[in-house]
Symmetry: C2
Subunit: 244 residues, 2 copies
Amino acid sequence: MATELSSSLAIPRQSLTCAVAEKLREQIIRGEIPEGAQLRQDAIANQFQVSRIPVREALRQLDAEGLITIVPNRGAVVPALSPQDVEELFTIRALLEPEVLKLSIPELTEEDFENAESILRNYVNELRREQHVSAWGRLNWDFHSILYCRANRPHMMSIIRNVNAKGERYTRLQLYLTHGMKRANREHHEILELCRKREVSGACELLREHILYAGQSLKEVLQQRRTTAAAPPRSRNRNNSASV
Amino acid sequence: MATELSSSLAIPRQSLTCAVAEKLREQIIRGEIPEGAQLRQDAIANQFQVSRIPVREALRQLDAEGLITIVPNRGAVVPALSPQDVEELFTIRALLEPEVLKLSIPELTEEDFENAESILRNYVNELRREQHVSAWGRLNWDFHSILYCRANRPHMMSIIRNVNAKGERYTRLQLYLTHGMKRANREHHEILELCRKREVSGACELLREHILYAGQSLKEVLQQRRTTAAAPPRSRNRNNSASV
DNA sequence: GCGCCGTATATTGTATCCATAGAATGTGCC
DNA sequence: GGCACATTCTATGGATACAATATACGGCGC
């Protein structure tokens, strides 16, 4: 779906900066680089076998995207989002995405529906093997973005993609910790069905609720986790998944 | 009002990259760097008396913000926005800004109102001397952002600021070409009055119409200009401000 | 124990050099 | 004369070395 390399022509072989930014973005989204982690220019340059120039440019780019925070003279870190931050991100999604869906539904093609269904099947497959948690987030985004693509609103899509990227670490958390996968899957099927029937307002409203529910339950998870984390370190060193 | 050097404390003296990005951003927004203009690294580096590295990083940053477009191996250009693009930007504003205003109104203080009024007074002053067209855009944004600031929604504010920045060149055009200043000024006063009365829904609805109207009239201006521009270059070389 | 100072590390910025992609230019051929 | 192709030129993309600076850390004296 996102492999536009398939076409043999038009291969403007992206710059190293873009490649590094993409790799880092993915690592951050997938949680391989945890919250609060410092991003050392030298380490990254070594890891990708490039000089520090592309790395520095990539970091500036990710900073502008809001995925990392560059504090002057102290380097870049992956910011930890507060429950309020997360709620805000989901509120933004709940505002923008139904609007785009509304514009997109009338233009969706049968091929789009099939692609979306194919993703949902993958979703179910991945649901059984929990080790691929990071794949969930990607499939989640792929599903949503397919439904939006026909709206032909590049600026909105760019914003939505960015907001999703910022929150995707947490989306995965919500899917994982609250067993939200099944509910998400059911809602995805319902939304897709409504799109097929071209029931615009119904689909948009359900999408909105779908996003708001995820945001709300995630916020609760985060607040709970925060209070337990803030509590005195009882002997219970639970099987913590902090580094995931 | 942006001279935060005044405060003796908290002077994290921004990096050169940030300074260059800020200067370029301002030049682009003010239209001093026109649409389609190439941004040469060497030229910029010379202009600001810095090496190319901070310039390159600043360009990446502006690219991520969507203010410029970097084409691999061909450098950065200021993209020309189509009427559809402009309409989309204003649609986004019309969606987000009333939402933020809704959250902000209950928290607005008397001081905020006075600041907003002060800006509106400046607005009227600048209205008389048309040479300061570039100041209009800034005052416009300042007024709007003051009304939103109490919503305490950093992510939304960041998006709104960015969308405004992308469209501000055109906002100025609208204010200038359609004599929209007077109408904008009147609507601003009305919005402010409704905020004072804490009439949330009224203020938000008026704000939404205010934005949509500006977008619509601007779109018409652009379409008209496009068709006339495509027409043979009549002798009319009006007191053009194209290079401003 | 507390504060001060020096060192180590990482970022920030400069200068220089090289490779290469695009564009412009020039040349030859039909 | 116009078009295809080769050459040249310019600006970007990237590497490397080096200087400057700010932060963090550790030890030292009081």
